[in-house]
Amino acid sequence: MSEPFEPRIVAFLCNWCSYAGADNAGIARIPSPANILPIRVMCSGRVSPEMILRAFRSGADGVLVLGCHIGECHYTSGNHRTAKRIPLLRNLLGYVGIHPDRLRLDWVSSAEAPKFAQVTQEFVEAVRTLGPIAEEVGV
């Protein structure tokens, strides 16, 4: 019996909310999938399309961008830009034949450790269903 495909997920986590949320999930011993490679950024607004595309190019099967809820950004409106940028990039991926659900944006605050675990769990399963990225495009 062959091993199940374990997706490799790169997660861009903003320092003030989602990274702290991830940290708290660990402290509270709420299990989250080990498939996640966290990358801490100061704000989700810092995550450029180039960074996300580079993650895919490097072999990530899925990319997760987690930021502060709208209205709670440490830099006031950094996450506003993320909110606009990600849907456009998702659509673009779809236009060139890469499944848009490989890129997901969500909002996780530092107090939402269970949400972090839930979002990552859901995302890993969704990407597992989509299959390895190498089947959609060479990396």
């Binding site: 399309p49 180039e50 595309l53 580079r54 895919f56 190019r57 809820h69 709208i70 409106s77 506003h80 830009r81 909110a83 606009k84 940028r85 849907p87 456009l88 990039l89 659509n91 673009l92 991926l93 779809g94 236009y95 060139v96 034949g97 890469i98 499944h99 909002w107 959609e136 495009v137 060479g138 990396v139």
Partner: protein, 270 residues
């Protein structure tokens, strides 16, 4: 119509420092700056070059000068977006609008083949605008294609890319001094387009909110890659999600760098 335009330019040259247009010589037709006293029988309207970039170049070199331009719809739209990003000063520009013919509009799949004088303090349009042409059939049929079909299509297209950077060089909206496409962290030098097309996807994302469908990129691509299909799709998304049409209204700031209050997203956020 061309005679009318030449006459207009001759008249305007008496008050302007120069008019940017296409000059025909024995060696070909190319952009140039017409000055007062020049032979205007040499002024032509095609082949189309990115004249908007010439305005920016000249205005920056001569910050006090007042120039005019014989501009088509695409040139005018490009100038609007450049003005928003401080590459062009509308107060020092006189726009002599040139309408496209129906054949020209169809060749470019252009929905707006006439310049809009509204954004410009001094402008007039010569000729009667024609109806916009229907969109590129590939774009129109895109909804019906599967991910697999799209992937096969674009893989085949990007395989032809020789990374000449022509699309970037010729684009009137590409004026960044530090271009992401020249950053080796994102676009590996010494390698043509890898199976994951970083160059093209980065360029397409950077074109969101900027591309005015002038088609110069596609016209200059040596590999005949239908770049405008991708940029048209992005432009449609920007209009659907952000209500923004590049080149349309000079008073509306590009939405991607604005807050959600100033430029809302037409989508559920949570």
């Amino acid at each position: 119509m061309i005679e009318e335009i030449r006459a207009h330019v001759a008249e305007k040259l008496q008050e302007l420092d120069g008019v940017i247009g296409l000059r025909r010589t024995a060696e070909g037709t190319a952009p140039c700056l017409f000055r007062e006293g020049d032979d205007l029988s040499q002024l032509e309207l095609d082949p189309r070059y990115p004249l908007a970039s010439v305005v920016s170049l000249l205005q920056k070199r001569y910050p006090e000068a007042r120039f005019g331009i014989a501009a088509r719809g695409c040139d005018a739209r490009a100038l609007v977006e450049m003005a928003k990003r401080e590459q062009v000063d509308p107060d020092r520009l006189y726009l002599l609008g040139v309408v496209c013919t129906a054949e020209e509009a169809e060749e470019c799949h252009c929905t707006d083949p006439a310049p809009d004088p509204a954004p410009w303090p001094q402008a007039e349009v010569i000729g009667t605008p024609v109806e916009g042409a229907p969109p590129n059939p590939i774009v129109a049929a895109y909804e019906g294609t599967s991910l697999e079909e799209r992937r096969m299509f674009w893989q085949g297209q990007f395989l032809k890319c020789i990374k000449c950077y022509g699309c970037r060089n010729v684009c009137p909206e590409c004026f960044c001094e530090a271009c992401a496409l020249e950053d080796k962290v994102w676009v590996e030098p010494g390698v043509l387009v890898p199976p994951f097309p970083m160059f093209h996807l980065i360029r397409a994302m950077h074109m969101s909110g900027r591309c005015v469908a002038c088609r110069q990129c596609e016209l200059t691509c040596p590999a005949h890659i239908p770049l405008t299909v991708l940029y048209d799709l992005i432009r449609r998304d920007v209009e659907d999600l952000l209500g923004y049409v590049p080149g349309a209204d000079i008073t509306v700031s590009p939405p991607l760098s604005l807050t959600l209050e100033d430029a809302p997203l037409r989508m559920e956020l949570e």
